[in-house]
């Protein structure tokens, strides 16, 4: 399968020209079927909690209620006229539940990142060795370059040294050494993917399929 797709890239003739897209559609369809297994796992796990009177049974009940309510609202398009509209049109139950629960939960979870960024900087950015120091200095300059404080601190520099003004230096770091590092990483990744894909296609790496009988 993998080989066919690799060669298809070089064959513009029908039916190979659209093979990549077809496979993506295939994947989407298989994923929906697989969800029945995943959803089943969710139902069974939490159902079990309730059945065995596990200490978390009330939490499991909440999860199950949310899951079934959302499925009911979405699959039957409750609160919506007819079957044709998009499932998330305004006014439908599905959409209301989404805005009242899903949306705030999601954005709050995302917003927690701001706190974790702070605690990570406190904990991890310590000049323990040369690598860590470089990491720290680069981060510090870029951070400083994005606040007015950095401009105040280095405003006195003459034009001929303007590159050392913090905001300029931050831009330079972003566009030169940062770019170089990114490219090395990205090229490395590409080679890694090529090699892994070949191993998978050639059957050298089969552990993912559970036939690791070496």
């Amino acid at each position: 399968m993998g080989f066919v797709l690799i060669f298809a890239f070089f064959i513009p003739h029908h039916p190979f020209d659209a093979l990549g897209e077809d496979v993506t559609v295939f994947f989407d369809i298989v994923a929906v079927f697989a969800f029945i297994l995943g959803g089943g796992n969710l139902l069974r796990m939490h159902g079990n909690h309730i059945y065995t009177r596990h200490k978390d049974r009330w939490f499991s009940a909440v999860t199950l209620a949310g899951f079934l309510l959302m499925l009911f609202a979405g699959l039957f398009k409750i609160g919506q006229e007819g079957w044709c509209g998009a499932v998330d049109q305004p006014g439908a139950w599905f959409n209301n539940i989404y805005t009242a629960t899903f949306d705030p939960l999601q954005s709050t979870m995302y917003a927690l990142l701001a706190f974790f960024v702070a605690s990570a900087s406190f904990r991890a950015f310590r000049a323990k060795n040369r690598e860590a120091t470089i990491l720290l200095v680069a981060a510090f300059i870029v951070l400083l370059g994005r606040t007015p404080a950095g401009d105040y601190a280095t405003d006195w520099l003459p034009d001929s040294l303007s590159i050392f003004k913090v905001s300029n230096l931050a831009n330079w770091i972003m566009s030169v050494p940062n770019l170089a590092g990114q490219r090395a990483i990205v090229i490395g990744i590409a080679l890694g993917v090529v090699s892994l894909s070949l191993r998978v296609i050639l059957g050298v790496e089969r552990s993912h399929l559970g036939t690791d009988k070496s």
Binding site: M1, V142, L143, P177
Partner: protein
Amino acid sequence: MNVSDWLALQVAALLTLGIVSFLYKDNPIYKICESIFLGVSAGYWFTVLFWENMVPKLYENISQAGSRPYTEAGVPSLLYVVALILGIMMLLRLFPKLGWMSRWPLSVVVGATAGLWFITYMQSNALSQLRATLLPILDFQAMDAATGTGLSGWFNKYLGNLVILVGTSTGLCYFYFSKEHKGVFGGLARVGIYFLMVTFGASFGYTVMSRMSLLLGRIDFMISEWWPSLFSGWS
């Protein structure tokens, strides 16, 4: 604001506070929020997958209700029947005796993924990045156009391309597997690590601001939408 909108706002605010309480410590309120989140989001995604994938991509293609390219000829596309069969094979896992059949769709998926990404990565990562890095060490033509005077001008003129070239190559040295990081090669690899560290530090510093604005958005919601609603009630 009507009653249901008002209630939805209160629910949203309570959930927001519940999640934030995790920062202090794990607690039952967080656990309730987590449970709601799990249930609702799993239901949400299944519903979306069903209406976005199952109906238009499978049902409409096979039943010819849609107007996808492969059904234009008037023949229900065999390709999609294959997809249906693969999907059903997936479900056979539910029956222990037939469970082995589910490996088929898995192999197809894994093989196809490997093939597709082989090409994509080769093209968009390796080749195009390499091409972008093909730079003259010193571009004497462009030098007159470079901006800045004194040391800054010198920086802009001479250092940019050289640093990019050195950084990219030494970075690749760091990833080189066949040679121990010793001697001259070890030195190169070390320079490579330094470049990677600058990259990580810089991107970390760069993302901090956008993370902060997410938090601002949440706080803004609590202050300007929820807090006034407590006093105004509904109408």
